[in-house]
Symmetry: C2
Subunit: 376 residues, 2 copies
Amino acid sequence: MLRFELLATHGRARRGRLTLNHGVVETPVFMPVGTYGSVKGVLPRDLDAMGAQIILGNTFHLWMRPGLDVLRRFGGLHRFERWPRPILTDSGGFQVWSLGDMRTISEEGVRFASPVNGDRLFLTPEVSMQIQTVLDSDVVMQFDECTPYETKGHVTTEAEARASMELSLRWAARCKAEFERLGNRNALFGIVQGGMYEPLREHSLDALVAMDLPGYAIGGVSVGEPKDEMRRIVAHTPHQLPAGKPRYLMGVGTPEDLVDGVANGVDLFDCVMPTRNARNAHLFTRFGDLKLRNARFREDERPIDESCTCHACASGFSRAYLHHLERCGEMLAPMLATIHNLHYYLNLMREMRDALDAGTFDAWRARFEAERARGV
Amino acid sequence: MLRFELLATHGRARRGRLTLNHGVVETPVFMPVGTYGSVKGVLPRDLDAMGAQIILGNTFHLWMRPGLDVLRRFGGLHRFERWPRPILTDSGGFQVWSLGDMRTISEEGVRFASPVNGDRLFLTPEVSMQIQTVLDSDVVMQFDECTPYETKGHVTTEAEARASMELSLRWAARCKAEFERLGNRNALFGIVQGGMYEPLREHSLDALVAMDLPGYAIGGVSVGEPKDEMRRIVAHTPHQLPAGKPRYLMGVGTPEDLVDGVANGVDLFDCVMPTRNARNAHLFTRFGDLKLRNARFREDERPIDESCTCHACASGFSRAYLHHLERCGEMLAPMLATIHNLHYYLNLMREMRDALDAGTFDAWRARFEAERARGV
C-alpha cells in the first residue's frame, strides 16, 4: 500500500506524510543507504534513535549476496537486517549499467557476469520486480536505464538520451505488468529520465503519469553532470509531477542539494554522502564542513559542533580525539563520524519539515545558507 | 588511592572489591584493551552498558599518538577518551621490547626509534612513570623487561631469565622512587617476572613484596610458551602473592584461561582476544567458539547464542546475517561481533563473581567446562 497526504505547501516545497506497509514516513525525508542490508558503520538501533524513518537497500547487491534463497527464507529484507520500518530498493538498473564493458544491454534486459562468482546473469524488468518482491520492499523502483551524462568524455546527445528514455518507458510498462502479475502489495515508482534535455524529461514524465503509478522519481541526475545542469533539471521536473503523489530525487546529494530539492518540490532523497564521507573523515555541520585529518584539530577540545545533539557531539568527544582516532585508523572514528553525519542529514530534514509546518521555510533557508557559509 | 577488600574466598579463588580514584571495581574482573584510547570497534557508551568496569590503555602507543602535549591539555586519558571509570596502563616495556632489532636495552632503559616519525627516543622507568602520571592512570604498571619464552627458536635459559628478572627488580625500585617523587596519587603495581622458572618467580615475588607495593602482576606469560607451561606458572605464582592485595595476570587469555586464573587466585585480567577475534569473525559463546565465515551459517536463522543477552543476540541478528555482513566486508560485522565477545567475557567474570559470592564456584566451573565442550 501507499497513501500520501499533502499537509502543507510553501511555494513549490511540500510537507507530506507517506504511509507504507511497514510504517509512516514524514516528508520531506532523507533515506540512509544500506546497500548490502546494512547502513555502513552504524547499528540499526542507533539509526532508529536518530530518527531514520526509511532506509534503502540495493537490489543488485542483495541479489548477488546473500542471494534470494536466503532472503526468501527470512521473508524479505526487513527481518534479515532487523529493520522493521519502511525500506525502498532500487531496481538494480544503475548497478548493472555501472558494470560497463562487463554487460550488454538489449530491449529484453541486461546480460552480465556476476562480479561475485562469474555466473552469467540476465536482469530484466520482470526479474527486477521478482527480486524486489522477495525483498518485500515498501517502495519498489522500476527497472530503468540510467542515462549517463557522458561516456568516456562523450556527452550524451539528445537522440541518445531519447532512445534511452524511451527504452526506460517500455521497461516501466513491463515492470507494472509484472508487479501486478506477482500480486505485490507494496508500491511501484516510475523513474523520469531524459538526461539534461527538458523536452525529453517532459515526454518521460507525461508517459509515466499516464501509467498512474503511486509515486515518481527523478533519475539520471547526480551522475557526473556539472552542478548547474543538475540544478536546472531539479528546477524543471519535480514540480510538474502530480501534486498528490510522492516525488523522489535519486542519489542526491549535499546539504545544499537537499534544501534546493525541497524548495523545488521533492519529497524523498537518498545518498551515500553522509556515510561514505564519514568513512573519509569528512564531517557535515551546520557551520560548514570539517575534515578531521586537518592538523589544526590536533589539540581542539571542542566537539564537532557544539550546537549538535548527536551522540558523538553530545557525549563530548572532541575534535582532537576524533583527529587522533582517524590518524590511528581506529574504527571508532568512522563509527562516530557516521553517527554525526547521518544525524546531521536527518536533522536537516527535520528542520525543513518543522519550517514547512510553521510556514517559515524561506527564513529557515536564509539562516541555513548564512550558517553554512560561516565555517567551523 | 587503592583499597582492596577481600569479600570471599573459595580454595584459592577470591571475590574482591578494588576502590580506585575513578571508581570501584568488583573482582575478579576482565579489562577490555583500549590501546590508542579506544577499545576497538565499540562505543564507550556500549562498553559501559555491558558492564565494563575498568579498561586498559597502552602507554607506548599513547606516548607516540596523540602525544603527551595533547593528553596533558585534556588532564589525562579519561577526559580525552570520554571514559570516566578506572583505567590501567601498561608501562610501555612490552611494546619497546617488541620492536626487536629497532631497540637497544641497557641498565638505564630502552633506546629506540619512533615507529611513527623516526624520532630517537629513550624509555626508562622514570619516563614511564612520568607518562603514566600525565595519563592519570588509576593503576600504573612498573617499567619491566618482559622475559621472552624464546627468541628466534632459542628458549630463554634460567641464567638469561634471572638476569632479565633482576633488571626488572632494579627498574621496579626506580619506578617506585620516581612515582613517589612525582606525587602520583594513583596506585603502582609491581610485575613478577622469572620466565618459566619457579625459583626465579619466587625470588622476584619476594623482592617485590618487600617493596610493599599496592598490587602485583604476573608478567611474562602468554608470550608464546606452550599452554601447559603457562598453566604451571599460573598455578605456581598468584596464590603466593599477599592475600590482601590485588593480583593481575597480564595479557591472558581464552575463556578457559580466565577460569583457570580465577581458580588460582587471580583478580584482574586483560587481553585483546575478545576484540581482535571479533574483527576476525571469531565469536566466543557459552557452547564453544563459532567462526562466522563458515558456510554452514549461510541460512542459519538463529542468533549467535540464544542464551546470550548481548545487544547482538538480544536484537535477533542471525548467524546468516552476520555471515553475510562478514562476507561483504561490512563494518557492522566486527561491530556486532565486538559487542558480543566483550559481553561474553564480561559476563563470564560476572558469573564467576556470583558463583564466588554464592559459594558455588566448583559447580559453576564444572558446568562451564561441560557447556563449552558441547559445541555451538
